[in-house]
């Protein structure tokens, strides 16, 4: 899991209100703009320009010829018509949604259970669980993909050995990566394994901020553990749940490295999600125009999916500044 993504959770640090009015505004008319100029220039060239370029190419005829010679002609909505009209694209979108929902639901449920569990543990066991989660968190994506390929290796993999030892003889030399569904399942396991630490640790940190008096009061009123969670814990942590869910949706939806390194979207396209599909179409088939159209649609779908999160963020930041 990447670090900025972790820290994307860091929305508001203790003292990030507006700078104190005492700071003298003299001679500052031009300075702030000079100070942010490198950032703005960098973002313009390395973020905004590629984004716009992607949109422009999606309206052009852009294949190998245009890549080499230049002079791509505009073709209106033709690429979008081709993409949206294809059966393949619709199945990729559906698969991407299934991929996102399955992963995010598993991540959120497991993380919540783990966080609640950590809060109830004794000191030593808690430290053990926290350290174990941090170790998982620290595992680089590409190290994790090679590890999982080794765990699920057909002849020498430890997973098959375990299953056979448990009496499931059909798993002897079972080739997980030859079957679409089992490859999909392994990728889900991998992504959930990598994502739970951040979500669980963040939720646990949130749990520790809930005042103990609230729990006591609920207990005295005779609430069951389940009621304590639904009536006390969850409502208080609701914004945190929302934030983590949104972040996980982003990461899972645009996940590329794990899928590409393990299966390249195969076998038979069983693990091809939108980002993988866009890359395949552009890089392997040299249809850069269709690839750009798919990328643009990917961004649009993500924005629609996260519109409430974005709106809340804009509103909250507005209040803080």
């Amino acid at each position: 899991m990447s670090a900025p993504s972790l820290a994307a959770g860091r929305r508001e640090t203790p003292a990030t209100g507006p700078p104190p009015a005492a700071a003298p505004p003299r001679r500052t008319a031009l300075w702030p703009y000079l100070l942010i100029a490198p950032t703005v220039l960098g973002a313009a060239y390395l973020l905004l320009y590629p984004l716009l370029r992607s949109v422009v190419i999606s309206f052009q005829h852009f294949r190998t010829g245009e890549l080499i010679r230049g002079g791509a002609a505009f073709v209106g909505l033709e690429n979008y018509r081709a993409v949206l009209g294809s059966e393949e694209f619709r199945s990729v979108v559906l698969r991407t949604l299934v991929w996102t929902v399955v992963n995010v639901v598993l991540i959120m449920v497991i993380s919540t259970v783990v966080a609640l569990m950590i809060a109830r543990l004794g000191r030593r066991m808690r430290l053990a669980v926290l350290s174990a989660l941090v170790l998982t968190w620290a595992t680089p994506v590409l190290a994790a993909t090679t590890i999982f390929q080794w765990l699920f290796q057909s002849r020498l993999g430890v997973v098959n050995w375990l299953l056979v030892t448990l009496g499931l003889e059909s798993f002897r030399d079972y080739t997980w990566f030859a079957d679409g569904t089992s490859t999909f399942a392994i990728l889900v396991t991998l992504v959930v394994w990598q994502s739970v630490p951040f979500a669980a640790l963040t939720l646990y940190a949130g749990l520790t901020t809930v005042p103990a008096e609230l729990y006591e009061a609920a207990r005295i009123d005779g609430a069951t553990s389940r009621q304590v969670f639904t009536e006390v814990t969850f409502p208080i942590l609701r914004p945190l749940f929302g934030l983590i869910t949104s972040l996980e949706v982003i990461w899972v939806f645009k996940c590329f490295a794990q899928i590409w390194a393990v299966s390249r979207g195969g076998p038979d396209g069983a693990t091809t999600t939108l980002p993988v599909y866009a890359f395949q179409v552009a890089q392997s088939l040299h249809k850069y125009d269709l690839g750009s159209a798919i990328s643009t649609l990917t961004v649009l779908i993500l924005i629609v999916a996260l519109i409430t999160h974005l709106r809340r963020m804009v509103k909250q930041e507005g209040e803080h500044l």
């Binding site: 203790p14 174990a132 090679t146 963040t202 980002p275 850069y288 990917t298 500044l321």
Partner: protein
């Protein structure tokens, strides 16, 4: 004690599931090939060996890729740090029109769907002769870590009282000198942890390294090299796991250095949002 048993068992399961894959990687890396290929796996290092590490380190280009990764990562992080420090200072210490909009854009840039820019970035790199160049990767990693670096440094800067600077200004320091002598030393831990997190992101990046370094194989970085392990090591899983271990080592080291901040600092920040 007995009442807590199910809870502790559940905790044990979480620990095992979290740790086992990493343990298995390290164990395989130290296990002789004969034992790896045995019918029944061994779960502890019975005959530890370094032969797989030797294979991994002596593999074609290992040191080149290691150096590439380190150079790209270090350059990107330093560049991001310098640029972010300026912007964070403007945001945390000055009042100006457009400040709010700027911060919002930084937050949104943090969520940028980089994976959707693979195709256009490839075309831009090709048009500008930057394909197969490590400098292009450096620029991209700089931009992917920049928004996060600005947000974090702004937080650290805001926690340093501006009165300290003002006192230095009263004592006749220039604004730059006040910043260098007063703020920078206090900011050092923040700079340190921010850059280490940036380091991890850039070190781990795969998608762009895979898409933009195509012809010049000597310019590949470690993640891409590792992803092609079956071409490099075939079915030598010992060497593959040794290579993974060596790749993970710097990140693990950083997490150990940062451990307090990992579990307290960043998460505390997330909670207050």
């Amino acid at each position: 004690m007995i009442r807590r048993l199910p809870l502790n068992l559940a905790a044990l399961v979480v620990v095992v599931i979290s740790v086992f894959p990493v343990y298995w990687m390290a164990l395989t890396a130290f296990t002789p090939t004969k034992d790896i290929q045995a019918e029944t796996p061994t779960f502890w290092p019975a005959h530890p060996t370094l032969e797989h590490f030797a294979t991994a380190v002596n593999a074609d280009g290992f040191w080149t890729f290691w150096r590439n990764s380190l150079a790209v990562t270090a350059a990107a992080v330093l560049l991001a740090l310098a640029v972010a420090l300026l912007a964070a200072f403007a945001v945390a210490r000055m009042r100006w029109r457009g400040r709010r909009g700027f911060i919002l854009m930084v937050f949104i840039a943090q969520m940028a769907p980089w994976e959707a820019l693979l195709v256009s970035m490839f075309i831009i790199a090709r048009d500008t002769g930057m394909l197969d160049k490590l400098s292009m990767l450096t620029l991209i990693y700089f931009m992917t870590t920049l928004p996060f670096t600005i947000v974090t440094l702004r937080g650290f800067l805001a926690s340093i009282p501006p009165e300290l600077e003002e006192a230095a200004l009263m004592d006749g320091c220039g604004r730059a000198a006040a910043f260098r002598r007063v703020v920078l030393p206090l900011l050092a831990p923040g700079l340190m942890s921010t850059s280490l997190f940036g380091f991890i992101t850039a070190w781990n990046e795969f998608a762009f390294a895979n898409a933009l370094i195509i012809k010049n194989q000597d310019d590949r970085t470690l993640p891409v090299w590792l992803s092609s392990f079956s071409n490099v090591f075939g079915t030598d899983w010992g060497a593959t796991m040794a290579a993974s271990t060596l790749f993970m080592l710097p990140v693990l080291l950083i997490f150990l250095i940062l451990q307090r901040r990992v579990t307290s600092g960043l998460i505390a920040g997330a909670v207050k949002g």
